[in-house]
Symmetry: C2
Subunit: 211 residues, 2 copies
DNA sequence: GTCTATACGATGATAGAC
DNA sequence: GTCTATCATCGTATAGAC
């Protein structure tokens, strides 16, 4: 078996199981069984269970953050070229849309989101600090763009509203297909796109609220 | 030892450890050691580990939901008596403020919030379904109040905005003292109250946004 | 009724031979 | 890279002391 093949099979299985059962709820045996590799292969390729979850997170997060950064800079630079402030909704969309299209890129991506949601809820998890450290530069850039877009609002207020936004985003991404949703509350079709628009309206309006 | 004393010691220790290490990360032996009771006391008083976490959740959640329900009904009935629509900010405050004052009621309450955040992130956790089932009636009441307050907005849209709000609320409650917050972003004093006001402004404005 | 000491079967982690 | 023997720890059950 090619070496890359083994590593990826382990990463896929780990992503899936960590998402479903949590870090402590998943054993190395479960992972290696699902990946149909030998138990000791994890220690061989990744060193430890803890390094494995770090690798799982970085594999997805690095390209995602690159895309977010690229889109944010595009919005900011376009506004600067035209000598005006960036549009708030456009700025927020530049951050949010990569997250959402990523979510629809496959079942592994949804597992990853569940994994991140877990990591954020875990006060001691190593996954938590990996995630937070990696996303901080993107958040700083987003904050800077919003400060340009909303000069009338205190940067401190923008900072907190940004965290309210992150709460809404992660909550809805993680719970969209897990919530007990009455049928009459479900948008008719292409529901995901509609809910995305609703979210964007909600947070854009909240972000622009007078102090 | 008084019988209630033992049960409460177990509940306190379980709340603390489940919040810190998660359900699977906590063993009954850790709990009974921290509570300085015998290992078998858990099974005697609660039957199983799973029943124990249910008891942990219900102990806090029932009074909290009663308070929320009472305040929501007060706002609604007051508005009806005066033959006008309920105020949106007041309605949201009736739901949110008990949560926040509860959070400040002691260290055990903060553990409980961390526990709930964990439960919400866990797709399979029994704690999750206990929490969701218990809070559903309150959410239904809140939805009904908001529909009265915002007749111009589609109930379906209100429903989703309500979930965006819950995301913001749980995220900020859980992460308030865990986020890496630059000192210049921290409100000068009584920060918790200020952040609450900011949250209320954010979600009220978002909730009232034109469709 | 309440608590304790102890045991059981299952399962996970790990080190060392190959 | 793989296999296996070994050990720790888990949740739970039970018998009996107070």
């Amino acid at each position: 078996m090619e070496p890359k093949e083994t590593k990826n099979r382990i990463l896929d299985a780990a992503e899936h199981l960590f998402a479903e059962k949590g870090y402590h709820g998943t054993s190395l045996r479960m992972i290696t069984t699902e990946a149909t590799v030998n138990l000791a292969a994890v220690n061989y390729h990744f060193g430890s269970k803890e390094s494995l979850i770090e690798a799982v997170i970085e594999r997805r997060l690095l390209p995602l953050n690159q895309l977010r950064t690229k889109q944010l800079k595009a919005v900011r630079d376009e506004a600067r070229r035209n000598d005006r402030a960036p549009d708030v909704r456009q700025t927020l969309a530049a951050f949010i849309e990569p997250t959402l299209s990523f979510r629809n890129s496959g079942p592994g991506a949804q597992d990853f989101i569940a994994l991140v949601a877990r990591a954020l809820a875990d006060p001691n998890d190593t996954a938590r600090s990996v995630f937070i450290n990696r996303i901080k530069p993107v958040l700083d850039l987003l904050h800077q763009c919003l400060a340009e877009a909303l000069p009338q609002i205190d940067p401190q207020t923008i900072f907190w509203r940004l965290h309210f936004m992150i709460g809404s985003l992660t909550h809805i991404m993680h719970n969209l297909d897990k919530l007990p949703i009455p049928t009459e509350m479900m948008p008719t079709d292409n529901s995901f796109q509609e809910i995305t628009e609703m979210l964007l309206t909600f947070i854009t309006t909240g972000m622009e609220a007078p102090q």
